[in-house]
């Protein structure tokens, strides 16, 4: 596995030069998974052909093909399509479904020589922040197996954190990459909306979600992002990307940069808020200037977020009726269509059901004015407010999650408490801005993450600031049993 702080770039170089092979790397990933995943449950399904595929990449390398990432072992969240592997979204609804195509992000990594290790556990249809809302049971945090790994891309974070692969593709709708990255001591990156194609990402809330990498270092995350990013004719919402690599200039530091600390996200004074304060001081020592800023709309952001995401989920998940794919619920007896659909949709789990009920309500004719349209208004105001702040400062800083990883089962019964957990993360999604969670020390043996949010299409600048913060945090701590 890649050395901490060292990078996937170096590993890829070794494969290119023949000092290592993809096959060895795939075998190592398989071995580590065998050793750790029985307990941690990062994966819903494993790629049984991973080693075989790695050998095929070795053949391409030997044939002189110039590949972007030969031998990179990548796990993929189970809501992102990999041709010929299941895509269940951790739902009984999609039991047995195998998409016939690769998501664009997967396709680009595959073309670069990446080897896919398996499909990772998640909250059902990415609705949740703990990975407890999975039809396959919860994943466990490698730092403390009794605690949640965060979510909804919890399995992705566990697979990387426990050394079962080099990097993972997650999806971030309201913090679902950053939150588990923070809980598992990783870097989690949510790109500018439209930077990475969503083609092949099974939609939950399509106007705000993005595929993003989880990796051990900022450079690793940038390396994976760089391969995936850019316009895709199959996703009309993709935007172009700047010339050059995301890694160019990533070591440029933060001297002269202005950092805004979001006051509303520093309340509470727990370990995450303290870590954010220390992170700000560290950036100042590196030559940045910090000031406190206010994001007034933040207080309505979570309500707007749940209203919009539920409305979009209502239509995005409507297609799961068991007629065309997934679990086949068509009875042999005669039946009336609507009665059948209601019954078929009984396969959704509790959290998905809760949001679908909300999603049927908020855009309905009698209520859209009071809910959905108001939420869209909040979203516009929030985006404008963040835009104004990012004219004054270069990056916005806050804790990633207001709390430390908690015990499995501790909070699952209180949706309102769970909802407040993404207070700090949803603003980036609602406003389309890029944001990243960077590990910044530990508290009581548990990792803490600090979030930076940047300008629209300012992903390279944001990664540079994240790299500086990572450097200031000192050598990364690793969970027990993980690679050195």
């Amino acid at each position: 596995m890649a050395a901490p702080g060292g990078t996937l770039e170096k590993m890829v170089e070794e494969v290119r030069s023949g000092a290592a092979t993809c096959e060895e790397r795939a075998l190592a990933a398989v071995e580590k998974t065998r050793e750790r995943d029985g307990r941690l449950r990062a994966y819903i399904s494993l790629n049984e052909r991973a080693v075989e595929e790695a050998r095929a990449v070795d053949a391409r390398v030997r044939a002189g093909e110039d590949l972007a990432c030969p031998g990179l072992t990548v796990s993929v969240k189970d809501n992102i399509c990999v041709a010929g592997m299941p895509a269940t979204c951790a739902s009984r609804m999609l039991e047995g479904y195998e998409p016939p195509y690769d998501a664009t992000a997967v396709e680009r990594l595959r073309a670069g020589g990446a080897v896919f290790t398996g499909k990772t556990n998640m909250d059902e249809f990415a609705m949740g922040l703990t990975t407890e809302f999975s039809a396959y049971g919860p994943s466990r945090n490698p730092w403390d197996a009794d605690r949640v790994p965060g979510g909804s891309s919890g399995g992705s974070a566990v697979s990387v954190s426990a050394g079962m692969c080099d990097a993972s593709l997650g999806s971030d709708t309201g913090g679902s990459v950053r939150n588990p990255a923070s809980f598992c001591g990783l870097v989690g990156y949510k790109p500018t909306y439209g930077l990475v194609s969503r083609y092949g990402l099974i939609s939950y809330s399509n106007s705000i979600e993005q595929i993003g990498p989880l990796a051990r270092t900022v450079r690793d995350a940038a390396f994976v992002l760089d391969i995936m990013a850019g316009r895709d004719p199959r996703d009309a919402t993709t935007v172009g990307r700047g010339p050059g690599s995301m890694l160019d200039g990533i070591e440029g530091g933060v001297a002269g940069a202005r950092v805004g600390i979001i006051r509303q996200m520093m309340a509470g004074g727990g370990a995450p808020q303290e870590a954010a304060g220390r992170a700000a001081s560290a950036l100042e020592r590196l030559g940045a200037s910090c000031e406190e800023v206010s994001l007034g709309s933040a207080e309505h952001a979570v309500a707007a977020y749940y209203t919009i995401t539920s409305a979009e989920a209502g239509s995005n998940l409507a297609r799961y009726d068991g007629i065309r794919y997934g679990h086949c619920g068509i009875p042999q007896e005669g039946y009336e269509f609507h009665a059948y659909v209601s019954k078929a949709r009984g396969r959704f789990g509790p959290e998905a059901t809760r949001r679908l009920i909300l999603g049927g309500f908020v855009p309905s004719a009698g209520h859209a004015g009071r809910y959905l349209l108001k939420a869209l208004g909040v979203r516009r105001r929030l985006a404008a407010e963040i835009g104004a702040l990012l004219e004054r400062v270069d990056v916005l800083l806050s804790p990633t999650v207001p709390v430390l990883p908690f015990r499995i089962g501790e909070k699952i019964d209180d949706p309102v408490v769970l909802f407040t957990m993404d207070f700090n993360t949803v603003a980036a999604n609602l406003s389309g801005r890029p944001a990243v969670s960077v590990p910044f020390g530990t508290s009581g043996g548990l990792p803490v993450g600090v979030q930076l949010m940047g300008r629209e299409m300012g992903d390279a600048d944001l990664l540079r600031a994240a790299r500086a913060l990572e450097g200031a945090a000192g050598p990364p701590a690793a969970p027990p049993g993980a690679p050195p």
């Binding site: 809501n79 992102i80 399509c81 895509a87 979204c89 999609l94 479904y97 998409p99 016939p100 195509y101 998501a103 969503r198 083609y199 092949g200 990402l201 099974i202 939609s203 399509n206 106007s207 004719p233 199959r234 996703d235 009309a236 919402t237 409305a311 979009e312 209502g314 239509s315 409507a318 297609r319 009726d321 007629i323 065309r324 794919y325 005669g334 269509f337 609507h338 659909v341 049927g360 855009p363 309905s364 004719a365 009698g366 859209a368 959905l372």
Partner: protein, 475 residues
């Protein structure tokens, strides 16, 4: 039509853009006809998880051209919305369509166009995806249905008119005009299911009733007619008309209430985030309008002003792409008087002879022939009455005027020849003559026999006069 309070009829028309290469949001074919079920599909149009719509710019352009031809205004930005309802022909259980509820963002709205001799308001023109098709094996009462998604995602333009038609015939003529417009834009509205219309009817300002499930324009006219009669007779008896959706029952020739609760449906419209708003520049709109083949309203204008064709004839002619093409070719460089005669021949005689797509395809009539016939009618060499017979022969066998009975018979029959024919008919059919003396309506029968005896070359006016004189003499 039974008398009673005035009727107000509106139309909701769905036109497939069959001339495009691909569907609205994926590369599958726009014309799915003749393909085995579920072979014209891809992950996008069957709505597989993770797929996204890729808007077809050509479809957007066609919709904008339809909007422009119907006098609609187009906003600077077009948007798409999701219309949510569960139905097995809808792969995503929502339809991507347009909506003006949050400000105009459809391809067109607020249009006015002349049709059927009146100004008709066009409420909106919008672009949307066609659902798939359900096939009920063994009819609607069968226990299951088969779904075919070949049609799912085909670009569909929806046109909604204001309730500005007073007569079912006017609605039918509007549809004929639309068919002509679509043809001029490269689509083929005669293909099965390519042009579908629902109507709505109210009488005397009462409740509006939607009339659906109508297979053809012909049936639509019948359904509207039935519905107007039904509502008028209810009004006459003081029974209130319920606002509802009724389906046309083709077998029983009545409209019947639908069992579904379509009026109560809440479609939970919300923005389609997968499709960014589409900018429509004013320059682009102008270029599209300029690039558009002449649309029926413009054609009608040209026929009236250049050839002096009457407004009624110009409208009928311009609404029918086949006939207007024939007229344009025949009348090119012609004397305006001859051109008017050609227009009359085409609209009063030819349209009845070739009233289906099959008959038109089989017709051997060519433009030079119709020009020749019009000149002969104007010079008096052929009567209007015999011209119809000549047209029939030209359609059937091709060839020129000389090959027809009217042509062979030469000029209009002289008065003497007609008088001889009158005499011989009255002699051969004394019973008919007696009947005609008792009932003036029966005169027409004898006139018909006289026309036949002269091979259609008698002037009808002369024939009527001579028959009347003959009857009076014989009395």
């Amino acid at each position: 039509m039974s008398p009673g309070p005035a009727a107000a009829i509106g139309l909701e028309v769905h036109c497939q853009l069959t001339g495009l290469k691909s569907k609205l949001f994926c590369p599958c074919r726009a014309d799915y006809r003749g393909m085995a079920p579920n072979t014209n599909v891809c992950p996008v149009c069957v709505g597989l998880p993770g797929t996204l719509p890729r808007p077809n710019r050509r479809a957007v352009e066609k919709a904008l051209q339809v909007a422009a031809a119907l006098g609609c205004s187009t906003p600077p930005r077009l948007a798409f919305f999701r219309k949510c309802y569960f139905y097995p022909d809808l792969p995503k259980n929502f339809q991507i369509t347009q909506l003006d509820a949050y400000g105009p963002s459809s391809a067109g709205s607020g249009g006015r166009v002349r049709s059927a001799g009146r100004e008709v308001g066009v409420r909106r023109v919008q672009l949307e995806e066609d659902p798939g098709r359900l096939v009920y094996e063994g009819g609607r009462m069968s226990r299951g249905a088969l779904a075919d998604y070949n049609r799912a995602g085909v670009p569909l333009v929806e046109i909604v008119t204001e309730p500005d038609f007073a007569e079912p015939g006017e609605a039918r003529r509007f549809l004929a005009m639309l068919a002509g417009l679509l043809r001029s834009l490269g689509s083929d509205p005669s293909l099965e299911g390519a042009l579908r219309a629902d109507g709505n009817v109210s009488v005397g300002g009462g409740s509006r009733v939607e009339v659906k499930n109508v297979a053809s324009f012909h049936d639509l006219e019948k359904a509207l007619r039935y519905e107007i009669t039904r509502q008028r007779s209810m009004a006459a008896r003081g029974i209130p008309v319920a606002p509802e959706t009724r389906h046309w029952d083709e077998a029983r020739r009545v409209t019947a209430p639908s069992r579904g609760k379509e009026e109560d449906m809440d479609y939970r419209y919300h923005p389609e985030g997968d499709i960014p708003q589409i900018e429509v520049g004013r320059d682009e709109l102008a270029a599209l309008a300029a690039a558009m083949p002449e649309a029926p309203p413009a054609k009608r204008e040209r026929y009236e002003s250049a050839a002096g064709v009457s407004p009624q004839v110009a409208e009928v002619l311009s609404s029918d792409a086949y006939c207007s093409a024939l007229f344009d070719e025949a009348s090119a460089g012609a004397d305006p008087g001859d051109a008017r005669e050609m227009a009359n021949l085409i609209t009063t005689d030819l349209m009845g002879l070739v009233d289906t797509a099959e008959k038109r395809k089989a017709s051997k009539l060519t433009a030079p022939r119709i020009a020749e016939l019009a000149r002969a009618v104007r010079s008096g060499a052929v009567t209007r009455a015999s011209a119809r017979g000549a047209l029939r022969e030209m359609v059937r066998a091709g060839g020129g005027l000389a090959g027809t009975a009217a042509g062979r018979g030469g000029a209009v029959a002289g008065e003497e020849e007609v008088a001889r024919a009158v005499e011989s008919v009255m002699r051969d059919e004394p019973g008919a003559a007696a009947a005609a003396r008792a009932d003036p309506k029966a005169v027409n029968y004898i006139v018909g026999r006289v026309m036949a005896a002269t091979g259609g070359r008698a002037d009808p006016g002369t024939a009527v006069r001579l028959v009347r004189e003959g009857l009076a003499r014989g009395a």
